[in-house]
């Protein structure tokens, strides 16, 4: 019998605010332990939380990008549980009325993964076990998070991977979070259950906690699918459990079962007023957002004539997309500019991180200049490529790198002598050509281009070569 995978994700994302959710401490990552704390985030007696409005606005942006409905009045609540990394012994979060509800994220297949809710909440500290001590670092305590809860609409590991990757790129793109999974600023809890092919009712689900990479999400889901399938095929039933994924062994391990599920005793946070937003504020936040990658992709393909894959590459990273938009504004060659970026420029960056960083020595303006030179046939495409390499290495503008000779191209006499030299260099190919092997022409052309360092116009060179060849008997 075959089983379908049913999965929903709860994704925690740290918001890119300067200060924490309820105090003015910095949210910087990687500082010395317990140096970014104050009485408020340490839960000292008598301290009170004061809501960071910037966090609410960022959460609103996330909701907007995920097509959610916004609750103009949402409530902060206390989730009570005791652990040394949670100084107040409760987390301030949202349960009954989250900030955003009912959205979706569209996968490349067109399938929509529904978003149930987005809630604003605070992060906890970190427990560090050393050889002889139990230590707590409270730097992360109170860092603003959003939890994005999806419906169980994900039905394959591939979809889960795409969902997480898309969500990550989107959140980074709109500046809501840096989503650095390795630094814990994006973490997922994955719910997995199985149902018989075509069945209506869902099976019992397990929840794999705190996954911090796309590959481990995929591995854990695969393992959990196989484990549950095995149980079901043997006629057993899946226990409702909270699991963690052991990276080294590649297996899921139970943390706690339903029986000892915690009672969080939620109630309204009396220290905070409800979060009340005006429609105007919501609109203002929406207007302050950059155009979403999906909308931009459409413009790139439909209006600028880029290929789908080019458009996808250019919209994947916000800085690149903005660089491209700027360049296109200044020249009439959108396709040429796109080609330069996705070709030569992309090859400079080895990692995703570098692509995102997109630190370049040239400006959109100088790329536009280069494209214009090509468009006006002042230089050949080949010379442009060579020049771009130099520009990228030196940060100089095209005009500074192209010599007067390059700019004017090559004189008729020069071209003639270059062509002549090319034919002499490739004497055996001349014979081939004469014997009807027209491809041999490309060899001569290649030599001419090389010798002119790209300055020759290939069309003119071709014509010249043909003329010379016709003179040879």
């Amino acid at each position: 019998m075959s089983y379908e995978l049913v999965s929903g994700l709860e994704t925690h994302i740290e918001l890119s605010t300067d200060s924490k959710l309820f105090c003015l401490c910095s949210t910087r990552f990687g500082a010395e332990p317990n140096t970014l704390c104050c009485p408020v985030c340490l839960g000292h007696p008598g301290t009170l939380p004061v809501l960071n409005k910037q966090a609410v606005y960022l959460a609103l942006m996330a909701g907007s990008a995920l097509n959610c409905r916004v609750n103009l009045r949402s409530v902060m609540e206390r989730k009570n549980y005791s652990y040394p990394d949670l100084p107040k012994a409760y987390q301030i979060t949202q349960l009954s009325t989250p900030l955003c509800e009912d959205g979706y994220l569209e996968l490349s297949s067109g399938k929509r993964i529904r978003i149930t809710r987005i809630q604003v909440e605070e992060d906890a500290g970190k427990v560090v076990h050393t050889e002889d001590a139990f230590c707590v670092d409270y730097n992360r305590c109170g860092v603003p998070l959003i939890e994005i809860v999806s419906e169980p609409d994900i039905s394959s590991v591939e979809e889960a991977k795409e969902y997480v990757e898309k969500l990550r790129i989107l959140m980074r793109y709109i500046g809501v979070s840096d989503c650095k999974m390795q630094e814990g600023s994006m973490r997922c809890d994955v719910n997995v259950s199985l149902k018989k092919q075509g069945a209506e009712t869902l099976g019992t689900r397990t929840e794999i906690k705190n996954m911090s990479s796309v590959s481990s999400i995929a591995r854990a889901m695969e393992y959990e699918y196989a484990r549950q399938k095995d149980i079901l095929e043997k006629g057993g039933s899946v226990q409702r459990q909270t699991l963690r994924f052991d990276e080294a062994k590649g297996i899921t391990i139970p943390m706690r079962s339903k029986e000892d599920a915690q009672d969080y005793r939620f109630f309204c946070e009396p220290d905070l007023q409800p979060v009340v937003l005006t429609q105007q504020e919501v609109e203002d936040v929406r207007h302050s957002m950059p155009m979403l990658p999906s909308e931009k992709e459409k413009i790139y393909t439909e209006q600028l004539g880029l290929t789908k894959s080019q458009a996808a590459l250019l919209t994947k990273y916000r800085r690149i997309s903005e660089f491209y938009d700027e360049a296109v504004k200044l020249c009439a060659e959108p396709q040429l500019a796109a080609g330069f970026i996705t070709g030569q420029i992309f090859s400079l960056f080895a990692t995703e991180g570098e692509k995102e960083e997109f630190s370049l020595r040239i400006t959109p303006h100088s790329l536009a200049e280069l494209c214009t030179l090509v468009q006006q046939k002042t230089i050949s495409k080949n010379l442009a490529k060579v020049t771009l390499d130099k520009m990228l290495a030196t940060g100089k503008r095209a005009e500074e790198l192209i010599t007067a000779r390059d700019m004017q191209g090559i004189s008729e006499e020069e071209l003639m002598s270059l062509c002549q030299a090319a034919l002499e260099l490739n004497a055996p190919a001349v014979a081939d050509f004469k014997n009807g092997k027209e491809k041999a022409l490309m060899a001569f052309l290649g030599t001419v281009m090389r010798q002119s360092r790209g300055a020759a116009d290939p069309e003119r060179a071709k014509a010249c070569l043909l003329k010379l060849l016709s003179n040879i008997n």
Partner: protein, 484 residues
Amino acid sequence: MGRIEYLHKLLKHRELSARELAKQYLDAIDRDNTALNAYVNVTREEALESAQKADEAFRKGEGVGLLTGIPMALKDNISTRGTETTCCSKILRGYKPLYDATAWSRLKAQGAVLLGKTNMDEFAMGSSCETSCFGPAHNPFDISRSTGGSSGGSAGAVAGNLAVYSLGSDTGGSVRQPAAFCGLVGLKPTYGAVSRSGLVAFASSLDQIGPMAQTVEDVAIVFDAIAGADPLDSTSSKTYVPQTFKNLNNDIKGKTIGIVPQLFSEVSSEVAQAVESALKTFEGMGINLVSIDIPEIHYALPAYHILACAEASSNLARYDGVRFGHRTGEGFASVNEMMIKTRSEGFSQEVKRRILMGTYVLSKGYCDAYYKKAQLLREGLSTAFEKAFEKCDAILAPTAPTTAFRTGTQLSPVEAYKADICTAPVNIAGVPAVSLCCGYSHHELPVGMQLIGRRFGEEAIMNLAYKFQQNTDFVRTADWGVRL
């Protein structure tokens, strides 16, 4: 004239130095605090230092206000930077806050001289000051009797002339009831009128810091100084700037006082008589009286206990020995065991009882029956009070059902909780009330009454209280402490 204005004149005219004044109080504390147990921590050095600063200010005639150089006391749940703030609980022994409570920092900025921290029921849970880990405070009018609570030490210190005024906190009556027991004036401000920043939370949605003193004028001066918006407290009013002191002498003729029979239901005849005669006094001053039923008051006390315990169970969960305060000695195998042992040792019976009750009423399956129902009752009561104030300008009621009881009286928890029966509805509704003395029992014990006002209507009730004080002769002082 109140005590603050009187002393201010002496200081201003250099007939007395702030340092001499502070020394007199500190010496009196040395002498009398053993008997009264009002203070749990005397800040002698700091007091003399700030008195000296006050003297300099007077000499220069710069930055001097009514509160400059006036010796005062703070309840031990109000945070004082660098000075132990224990809530009279073993679990917070040794805890020194890193910051000042907003109310205290405002007084400090005016040159207040802090004599020390005062005794209280542990975490403000109690009405007798007997759950303090430092032992009970004693009533200056009869030291075999209770000061009331939870701000018992703040009341005892002022009534025993060991401070000119003090701050307490009122969650269900903790300023007003001890004020009543000790013949003082005590104000429970509107929820949101005074910042709670730095007040160690008991029940966050009910707690308010309030001043206590011997006269209405003194309370008005202190309240005006501590009230107002605070960016550190999101529940504090952003716009309220009360001027109760300026408005004490407004004409009250033609105003209407409401009498709510439900607030007299469990009250002793002695207390009822004193309050009724106060009503006659008011009538004689040209005040109209009107009877108003608020049947919801019957549910106020249980609702209060559910809400207060629920919030307390969450607020007190942070005392785990991990970061500050008491931690159990060696002899634990895990962090969990350390936290359990610390909490078992650090909290007294009463605090544990309330944590358990609060945890219970928030638990799955009980939350709807208790906590959510209590929330509805809170809304109902607030609306009922709002409606009542359409018919009157203030409500007059007893502050406590009895006068000061003897310390050590064995009461069941439910009986003990009844001490808050007249006061808790005011906290539930979030409105202000001022308690003041309206007579004395045949044991010569003060009887308190409270004037309850509209939200942010402190000016009106303080005005009425002042006029009553002017027309009566109930401001007496016990035979302890400083005689000026």
